[in-house]
């Protein structure tokens, strides 16, 4: 579904990504793990068109999207939940969800909002409140809900666990898993390697802008090098 070939990105002289290649199959849930500053967010931004690429190709369903504008990429069905959630804080929870459906023109939007309220009942209670006044966990739920409202083909998540209490993280990850079970393809960037590896099918390990390892998440969980570098064992 998504195929990245030899992608490189620079910030001025600093190389953020060099020769990154990876692929994500339809229906898969794949993670990218790595330390702070490894280039994880840059890669997600490049896929979404928020970051200029220096060379390389990004194919989505067969066509190269590396040079498209970000809002056009969103229309193709790639939706990102940015790091720090990027909520529209002066809009209500429900308005945030509704804007998630910005690119849709069908009549099912209200139905989908109800579905999200079933998944996250707290959001129904808070639906008239400004998104900016919610707790971190609730905001992450709004961000996930907003992304789902576009009925994405590929959902990109940037550090969904960041700044959240462990119990909230569990809830968010349970929701992510349910989404995958319903057929959404998901790509997660996550610093918490254990968490990411435990819910994904496959994973890539990024170090200093290069992919240094890849494989089944289960195997990576048992890999000595991964254990030492990322799992703190």
């Amino acid at each position: 579904m998504l195929k990245i070939e030899n992608l490189s990105c620079n910030y001025r002289q600093i190389i953020a990504l060099s020769d990154v290649s990876l692929h994500i199959n339809r229906g898969e849930i794949v993670s990218l793990i790595g330390a702070n500053g490894a280039g994880k967010t840059t890669l997600l931004r490049a896929i979404s068109g928020l970051q200029n690429t220096k060379k390389g190709k990004i194919y989505f369903e067969g066509s190269d999207i590396a040079k498209l504008e970000s809002h056009d990429i969103a229309k193709l069905g790639i939706v990102q939940i940015p790091e720090g959630r990027g909520l529209f804080s002066i809009l209500s929870v429900e308005e945030n969800l509704r804007l998630g459906a910005y690119i849709r023109s069908d009549k099912d939007v209200q139905n989908d909002i109800e579905k999200i309220y079933i998944q996250f009942p707290i959001l129904k209670e808070k639906r008239k409140e400004y998104a900016g006044t919610l707790s971190g966990g609730q905001q992450q739920m709004v961000a996930v809900g907003r992304a789902l409202m576009s009925r994405p083909k590929l959902l990109l998540l940037d550090e969904p666990s960041m700044g959240l209490a462990p119990i909230v993280v569990e809830e968010i990850f349970r929701a992510i898993k349910e989404l995958r079970d319903k057929g959404t393809t998901i790509f997660i960037v996550e610093q918490n390697a254990f968490l990411a590896l435990s819910i994904t099918d496959r994973a890539y390990v990024l170090e200093n802008g290069k992919i240094v390892m890849s494989g089944n998440s289960n195997e990576l969980l048992r890999d000595e090098r991964v254990k030492e570098a990322y799992l703190g064992a």
Partner: protein
């Protein structure tokens, strides 16, 4: 439904206040200040949409208002075109101008955007000073009286009513716009450009549209000001006028519809009270911005919220 009702309610209150106000105006000088306040408020409503909702700072709106005013004045005084039609042409011209410059300028953010609008503003002001055959240079030029379909605007009350009606109408449009899908898109851009992009919103397009709307409103107000005062000079388009407008919006409250009016009224009256400090005006404005940012970043309009909340809490 309730929301709509509330909107018309505040506008009615505003209309009543504006209607009662002239009974307390004892002389032409006070009228003049009131009219200038209304026109500044008009520009601020547009600028507030750009700054408070779309999150884009402009340090060039004084220059846009001035240039728009010059276009209208030159067309009517030098070419004999009727004032109303001159203003219309000025608006169309400035809208096209704003649309063209918005494309490169609004790609910038934060300080860089502010610097770019500042640059455009200064260029406009230099051109108005230098092109003296057309503009009268730094001495400015006198302006013919204003008439609409033969009806002449001569006394202050007529001007006051015209400006008040325009302001009420603009606010009514503004409120409807902010609570429409278009307004939600603007608020989303203010919240997070990245996220707005990633739900498929063409952020740069919307920023351009708001920029154009705000420049159109500035042009209208700038032209009317020139016709009202019977005179226009490059100082209307100066950097300090642009700063003044930004201070009005910030003081009143970013993203607050009525904040812009409060800011405009206070900062139009204040210089009259501080005439002996004229040399320090820009300094005082700077101090106001710092003070507002430190102690009430949401502006004066937010103080009313606090008062309302306290009253409400007591009733409970």
């Amino acid at each position: 439904m309730l929301k709509r009702y509330n909107i018309s309610q505040d506008i009615i209150v505003l209309a009543i206040l504006l209607f009662i106000a002239p009974f307390f105006f004892q002389n032409d000088f006070i009228y003049e200040i009131a009219i200038v306040s209304l026109l500044n408020a008009l520009i601020c409503v547009g600028l507030n949409m750009l700054m408070g909702y779309a999150g884009q700072v402009s340090l060039g709106h004084g220059a846009f208002a001035g240039l728009g005013g010059y276009i209208a004045v030159i067309l009517s005084s030098n070419y004999g075109i009727s004032p109303l039609f001159s203003i219309f042409i000025a608006i169309v011209t400035m809208a096209i101008f704003a649309f063209i410059i918005s494309k490169p300028i609004l790609k910038l953010r934060g300080h860089y955007l502010a610097m770019a609008t500042l640059g455009v503003g200064i260029i406009i002001s230099i051109v108005l000073n230098v092109e003296d055959e057309l503009t009268g240079g730094s001495d400015g030029m006198s302006v013919d009286s204003f008439s609409v379909f033969g009806y002449e605007f001569t006394d202050s009350l007529q001007w006051y009513i015209l400006c008040a009606v325009l302001l009420i109408f603009t606010i009514w449009m503004f409120k409807n716009l902010i609570n429409s899908p278009f307004g939600r898109v603007l608020k989303s851009i203010e919240g997070s450009q990245k996220a707005a992009n990633s739900v498929g919103i063409n952020v740069s397009h919307y920023k351009s549209v708001v920029f154009v709307i705000s420049v159109v409103i500035a042009t209208l107000a700038g032209s009317l000001y020139a016709f009202f005062s019977g005179f226009i000079s490059p100082s209307e388009a100066s950097f300090s006028h642009s700063i003044e407008l930004v201070v009005m919006v910030v003081l009143g409250g970013l993203g607050r519809v009525y904040g812009a009016i409060i800011g405009a009224v206070i900062l139009t009256i204040l210089p009259q009270l501080l005439t002996s400090f004229e040399d320090y005006q820009t300094l005082i404005y700077g101090a106001i911005i710092i003070f507002v940012m430190m102690f009430m970043p949401k502006g004066i309009a937010s103080l009313f919220d606090d008062i309302k909340r306290r009253l409400f809490a007591q009733n409970k």
